[in-house]
């Protein structure tokens, strides 16, 4: 992990004074224009806030791999504005407090141009205000609705992954039409889960259905059987979304509880991200449905963009690492890193970005974006970006488990997930 090169503790007061004087003298000399020149060749530094430890570790590992792969491609193709891209990765322990510290470190210690990569919504909520205060453009890859809700600030953007509100809005008609009208929801008891609770309930009612029970589970819970009796017997569809290290236990215990007489089950793949669908105890999932941000298993009609993306990141046709078939990726989310990096690249190129003094220009350039076509840069699908709410919208996939694989049944249109703007960040000053 790169650390600050200067260690003030080791330097005596005298040497510090000396070097300060020397630096000041150097800067005052005519012709000292290292960063003022028109074309700097110094790398563009992207601070990567990664959940390397804590409950988001599995996501962090794959966000890291995706980021590395995308940056390699960007650099091989000449970098951004002719400058190489350097990733400065810092672990935030999936912890909001630590997250804010990491953001601060990016700006003050590493002199990063932008911050990027946060997934877990409570960490985003903890970090984004700090990014706004120190005016560091902060690109989150989180699916939380917090960006578009207006709760954050002009410096925080989510241009690589659709938010939960849009996801559930676009999928609710399918669930209501094909699975059932009486829904019981099971979700983690914090911001991300509450997004699901609020927006899916609203979407269900808008489609003539009813959420008959909402079961909130503390995010640190390790045993789940005790929650299942709360599922009312008349439930037609169980809607589940869980995160964290205990997801496998959750799904397994649900199978144990229900056995063959289960209601329809619609899950967010979050409940099984980084988990092998063929783990013992998961057989009961056959025939159930999942939301996928991007289809984990290679589909029959695979396009070239998907092929290109899988090859670059090192993911096989089953969504696992090519070097270890047991190492299953977080395929439904990590494309967001890839796409966000390409948005940063496009934004910096449009803004003629040279250094931190152009941060506002960068944000304005991205706010001006609208259509992002399905391409190698956007392998998950075409996107529409809303500059006012700083949120991107893309297609969603509904897959069915068939023979131990997820097979896409329905792809939503981008417009299915549109909702009225709740904020306009462009009216905020920089």
């Amino acid at each position: 992990m790169p650390r600050s090169r200067k260690s003030p503790i080791l330097a005596t007061r005298r040497t510090v004074l000396k070097s300060v004087a020397a630096g000041a003298g150097l800067a005052a000399m005519p012709g000292f224009v290292r960063y003022a020149q028109a074309q700097s060749s110094a790398p563009i530094k992207i601070g990567f806030q990664v959940h390397r430890t804590g409950i988001g570790a599995a996501y962090g590992r794959w966000y890291d791999r995706t980021t590395t792969a995308a940056v390699k491609l960007i650099n091989d193709a000449g970098g951004i504005n002719g400058r190489p891209v350097e990733i400065i990765a810092e672990d935030d322990g999936t912890d909001p407090k630590r997250g804010a510290e990491v953001v601060e470190k990016f700006a003050s210690q590493h002199n990063c141009d932008v911050g990027y990569g946060t997934l877990f919504s409570h960490v985003v909520m903890g970090s984004a205000p700090r990014a706004g205060e120190i005016k560091l453009p902060y690109f989150v890859v989180s699916e939380g609705h917090h960006v578009a809700s207006g709760a954050l600030n002009r410096y925080t953007l989510q241009p690589g992954i659709t938010d939960v509100k849009s996801q559930v809005k676009s999928m609710a008609p399918f669930v209501m039409g094909n699975l059932g009208k009486k829904v019981t929801m099971i979700f983690p008891d914090y911001a991300f889960g509450h997004d699901h609770r609020d927006f899916f309930s609203a979407a269900v009612e808008a489609n003539g259905g009813q959420v008959i029970e909402k079961i909130a589970i503390p995010p640190t819970e390790t045993s789940f059987t005790k929650y299942f009796p709360k599922i009312p017997r008349e439930t037609e569809v169980i809607y589940h979304v869980m995160v964290g290290p205990a997801v496998l236990t959750f799904v397994k215990e649900m199978g144990e509880f229900y056995g063959p007489n289960k209601p329809q089950i619609f899950g967010f793949i979050d409940s099984l991200e980084a988990v092998d669908l063929n783990s013992p105890g998961l057989e009961f999932l056959d025939g159930t449905y999942f939301w996928e941000g991007m289809p984990r298993y290679t589909q029959a009609d695979q396009n070239d963009y998907d092929k290109h993306y899988r090859a670059a990141v090192g993911v096989d046709d089953n969504g696992a690492s090519v070097s270890d078939p047991k190492d299953v990726s977080t395929f439904a989310h990590m494309f967001g890193c890839w796409e966000t990096l390409y948005v940063i690249k496009a934004g910096m190129e449009a803004a003629g970005y040279q250094g931190p003094q152009d941060r506002a220009k960068l944000i304005e350039a991205i706010e001006a974006m609208t259509d992002m076509p399905h391409s190698n840069e956007h392998p998950q699908g075409a996107k529409k970006f809303n500059g006012r709410t700083h949120q991107v919208f893309g297609p969603q996939y509904i897959s069915k488990v068939e023979g131990g694989k997820l097979v896409v049944q329905h792809t939503t249109a981008i417009e299915d997930g549109f909702y009225p703007d709740e904020t306009d960040y462009t009216t905020q000053s920089f």
Binding site: R52, T53, G54, A57, A58, G60, R61, P218, E221, T222, S223, T225, K226, F228, P229, R233, P245, A246, L248, T249, E253, E256, F257, Y258, G259, A274, S279, P280, G281
Partner: protein, 293 residues
């Protein structure tokens, strides 16, 4: 769900919690009883047991039962050995001074946790259950493996009780617990007894973890909850009293299961903690503890 089956499920869940908790807490209680050491690293020994179990099971191959059986054997031995070494290297040098050993075991907690993070990694990994059969009651299904956990815990606890009451080593332990100086005068190698007891306490936590790891997964942060609950149990039962520990484990485990099912898991934790406070105020030596001499 109707009240009857609901209560039945709640009791089953409570019994599993109680079984695992009893094993873990007896280890903690034993260490405190004999050595007067408050082992804050106890939860990490639990975690270490689970991680070793994963390692053993993933290298064993073949039927999952083989890996599990090997883990049941190897994990407690490895964990016990680590604990015995820690006792020799750290606790012994501190002369088992109560305050300093608390700080030392906090240090041990972080060393074990971070070492596992660096080697095993931050993932949660499952160990396959030795058998994967479910029974279907008319109202709900339940894994038979959970019944096995309850049975195995009872068997192990019986073993511990026999060890304490029927063997020479148990006699030596009880003698050391009763009066360290007199035991020394009777040529009991107290140092070695301490190392063995510390190892045994850790091994019991590891055994509990091996039993639980096919239900939950091995994860480097999994030691926190068992530590907290073990302390709750040991304080309610009376530090150093094995019978009290087991009664308190059943009490806390069952009430945790039942309250979690009927009300909420948070309420269960609140009540357990409240119980600790009440015990500390009205009966500081615990339900079964003897007043300090």
């Amino acid at each position: 769900m109707d009240f009857g089956p609901y209560l039945f499920l709640a009791s089953l869940e409570g019994a599993v919690t109680a079984a695992v908790l009893a094993l873990t807490a007896v280890g903690l209680s034993l260490v405190f009883g004999v050595m007067r050491v408050v082992n804050v690293a106890h939860g990490e020994f639990f975690m270490l047991g689970a991680v070793v179990a994963w390692w053993v099971a993933s290298y064993a191959g073949g039927h999952p039962a083989i890996g599990f059986a090997l883990a049941l054997l190897i994990a407690p031995i490895v964990t016990g050995a680590v604990a015995a070494v820690a006792d020799f290297l750290v606790l012994k040098r501190l002369d088992y001074d109560p305050e300093r050993t608390i700080v030392a075991t906090i240090g041990l907690l972080y060393i074990i946790q971070q070492t596992v993070l660096m080697t095993y990694g931050p993932e949660a990994r499952p160990v396959e259950a030795p058998f994967n059969v479910r029974i279907y009651f008319p109202w709900f299904g339940y894994s038979t493996y959970k019944f096995f956990v309850i049975g195995a815990a009872v068997a192990i606890l019986l073993g511990v009780w026999l060890l304490m009451t029927r063997t020479r080593f148990g006699l030596v332990m009880r003698a050391t617990q009763l009066d360290r100086e007199t035991a020394l005068a009777f040529a009991i190698p107290v140092d070695r007894v301490y190392a063995l007891v510390f190892g045994l306490g850790a091994a019991l936590a590891a055994l509990a973890a091996v039993l639980i790891v096919p239900i939950q997964q091995a994860h480097y942060l999994m030691g926190g909850d068992p530590l907290l609950l073990s302390f709750i149990v040991v304080i309610i039962g009376g530090l150093g009293s094995l019978a009290g520990t087991i009664v308190a484990a059943v009490l806390v485990g069952m009430s945790d299961g039942i309250i979690s099912v009927f009300f909420s898991p948070t309420l269960a934790k609140i009540i357990a903690t409240l119980l600790v406070a009440l015990v500390l105020v009205f009966r500081p030596q615990g339900l079964f503890g003897k007043r300090a001499l």
